[in-house]
């Protein structure tokens, strides 16, 4: 038994360094540090006001939902470039159906969600059954949905529907006088649901198994095809939901809404500690990824003298740093 005892101690030692929660903790730590920095530097500007923190959720709720969908795809080792276009398309579709066709939002929302999910399903089907790289298929999705935006209308459609207005303006009060928007609450609910699905259902575990080793998953008798297609369907659904939240946030449909948002979503997932090669990561990490990206924007706003493009540069630097961390972590695991 001495051999096995040896395994045990070795395993214990490695676990600390290899713990898959480590990247999430790093990101959470980074968030706290950045927040502390902001609190220290902009103390007199009301940075510590609880609402500043809540606004992170209000301003980034749609991104969180999109990033949660992207997390599913990336966990299987795939990628979804169509996120931004599906969001843009959903804003257009919603605005057009509500404003130009006079349909009630209650009917429009399920339609939009269904279209997004079906788009994701189609992409997943082609990716899996015809063995075409996800990158290319979702790129076609990117073109397609952005194109559909323009087909609906080349002009922006602003929404004056009272239901939309009411939903957008509703404050969900929190203790301490701060509040959240409906969209923020929905995004947090999506996060919680995703966490449950990934960690407490067989489907969720299959997502991890495929990302860990698709060939093994197949040999272990898991339904790989269905799971892979489902993951893109989830991403399509989340993108459409994100589009609805974005519509609430901005109260218009515009063919140029959310251009390039897929990059933000992917960046948030990576910064949140999910490996782009799949199989490792947590949806909670994605939350921190979104919060860190959101906080960068907030800090830049508070600084006042810095311009918006620093957001992109900082995101790039963060991406680089986290990809390096991932690289060294996987490198160590291999040896």
């Amino acid at each position: 038994m001495s051999v096995i005892d040896g395994f045990r101690t070795r395993a214990e030692g490695l676990r600390l360094l290899q713990d898959r929660r480590l990247p999430v903790l790093v990101t959470a730590g980074l968030f706290v540090l950045m927040f502390g920095f902001g609190a220290f530097r902009y103390q007199s500007y009301g940075f510590l006001d609880a609402q500043v923190f809540m606004n992170l959720f209000i301003d980034n709720g749609y991104l969180l939902v999109a990033a949660v969908g992207a997390t599913f795809v990336i966990l299987t080792g795939g990628i979804d470039l169509s996120v931004g276009s599906v969001i843009g398309f959903t804003t257009m579709l919603t605005a057009w159906l509500v404003e130009k066709q006079g349909l009630p939002l209650l009917l429009v929302a399920p339609i939009a969600l269904g279209v997004g999910a079906f788009g994701g399903y189609l992409m997943g089907y082609v990716i899996h059954h015809f063995e075409i790289e996800p990158f290319i298929v979702t790129l076609a999705g990117l073109f397609f949905f952005r194109g559909l935006c323009l087909v609906i209308s080349k002009e922006s459609i602003s929404i004056t529907d009272p239901t939309v207005d009411r939903l957008a303006q509703t404050h969900v009060p929190l203790p301490g006088g701060s509040f959240l928007s409906i969209a923020a609450v929905i995004s947090l609910a999506v996060l919680a649901l995703a966490f449950y699905v990934l960690h407490y259902t067989r489907f969720g575990r299959r997502v991890y198994a495929i990302g860990g080793n698709e060939q093994s998953a197949l040999l272990m008798g898991l339904p790989v095809a269905g799971t892979k297609i489902a993951v893109y369907t989830v991403s399509g659904f989340c993108s459409a939901l994100s589009g609805l939240l974005f519509t609430l946030y901005i109260q218009s449909g515009d063919p140029l809404h959310a251009v390039g948002l897929e990059l933000d979503a992917i960046a948030a997932v990576v910064v949140g500690g999910t490996l782009l090669t799949g199989g490792s990561g947590y949806v909670i990490g994605t939350l921190f990824g979104v919060l860190v990206l959101g906080l960068i924007k907030t800090l830049i706003q508070f600084e006042g003298t810095l311009s918006s493009w620093w957001t992109k540069i900082a995101t790039g630097v963060l991406l680089f740093a986290f990809i390096l961390i991932q690289r060294t972590m996987t490198g160590r695991r291999r040896t």
Binding site: A140, L263, T315
Partner: protein
């Protein structure tokens, strides 16, 4: 040689279908634009639909040529759009700061600076891919995200306009009755053909992309080759950036070269170069880029609402990729192939493939 065998030889040429598609697209235009193929001389400049297709397609051709080499090594470069923006922004900034914007020396300095930075961007991507071993999609994603920010940083978020005849020559000017950009494209095409086919670079790139392990065992310095490919791609994107900014005499950090990486990848794939690397076809890529540009023009001329352009493009991407997918061909045309003879799949391939299942860690 009989006519049928001639026909068969022609259809089997790898450029047949791309060229056929291009010709078909051009012909479609004729009923809508009667003088489509006409080219006339006005004020010493050549005008005509064909001329403008080449003129507007120039930046795409350039970027796609660089992309071809990167894809041939088994990689991909998502950052070319950002590099286009950076290069244009830097050049415009340098020119706009000069007292005499028409000074040729000043413009040349601006070009040199911009292209140097583009080369650095390419080298950065190459180092991440070849030295650090990061997946190409991910490695170039970094610059794709940060690069736009850098471009806006250079222009301070404004659109920098320049007023320089010397500067506007490269992207909008005419020389010997032809658009000057045509000469630039021709030069780059000739250079890249020479670089790849007159030296051994093309062969080594194809070997690295075709079988990386065999290339290592045969002594090819694949890291160096890959870094060079990314640098070349960066340089091409840099030149395209100069052209785009010169054409409108302005640099827009946000929108210059937006989505050009996607068009370029599409052009490469249509041209017959596989995304998995290996054999590449510069001629095919150029035709691919021209098809994309002609498609855009055609959509304008035949009166289809321009907004469907992207939907069309999406359909083209999918159809081209489906046709390239062996699984799709097997599923759709499989029945016919089976009737023709025994299965084409060699047993050796099947037997060899099985033990290669690896535990990815």
């Amino acid at each position: 040689m009989s006519l049928t065998s001639l026909w068969r030889a022609a259809t089997q040429h790898r450029l047949f279908w791309p060229v056929a598609a291009l010709v078909a697209l051009l012909v479609i235009n004729v009923p809508f634009t009667p003088g489509f193929f006409e080219i006339h001389l006005k004020n010493g400049h050549l005008y005509g639909s064909l001329v403008s297709i080449v003129l507007f397609g120039s930046p795409l051709i350039l970027v796609a040529i660089g992309m071809t080499l990167v894809i041939a090594t088994g990689g991909i470069d998502l950052s070319v759009g950002a590099v286009v923006a950076i290069s244009g922004a830097l050049a415009c900034l340098v020119v706009s700061k000069q007292a005499d914007q028409d000074s040729v020396a000043g413009v040349l300095l601006a070009f040199a600076l911009a292209l140097a930075v583009a080369l650095v961007c390419g080298a950065w991507n190459g180092l991440l891919v070849a030295r650090l071993g990061i997946q190409p999609i991910i490695a170039t994603l970094i610059l794709m995200v940060a690069g736009r920010g850098i471009a806006q940083l250079i222009t301070s978020g404004q659109i920098i306009t320049v007023n320089s005849d010397a500067y506007s020559l490269i992207g909008g000017g005419y020389w010997l009755a032809l658009p000057f950009s045509l000469f630039v494209v021709a030069l780059v095409v000739v250079l890249s053909m020479a670089l790849t086919r007159r030296t051994a670079l093309g062969l080594l790139v194809e070997a690295v992309g075709g079988n990386a392990e065999a290339s290592r065992l045969v002594g090819i310095r694949s890291r160096r080759i890959k870094i060079m490919a990314y640098m070349f791609c960066g340089l091409c994107a840099g030149i395209a950036g100069l052209m785009i900014s010169s054409n409108v005499s302005a640099a827009d950090g946000n929108n210059a070269g937006l989505w050009i990486e996607l068009d370029a990848i599409l052009a490469v794939v249509i041209g017959g170069t596989s995304l998995t690397g290996g054999r590449f076809h510069l001629g095919g890529t150029i035709i691919g880029a021209l098809i994309i540009q002609t498609l855009t023009t055609t959509i304008y001329t035949i009166g289809v609402p321009t907004q469907t352009n992207l939907v069309f493009k999406a359909v083209v991407v999918i159809v081209v990729c489906l046709m390239q997918s062996s699984v799709f061909r097997a599923k759709v045309f499989g029945a016919r192939a089976k009737r023709r003879g025994p299965a084409q799949k060699s047993p050796g391939a099947a037997a060899d493939a099985a033990p290669q299942m690896e535990v990815s860690s």
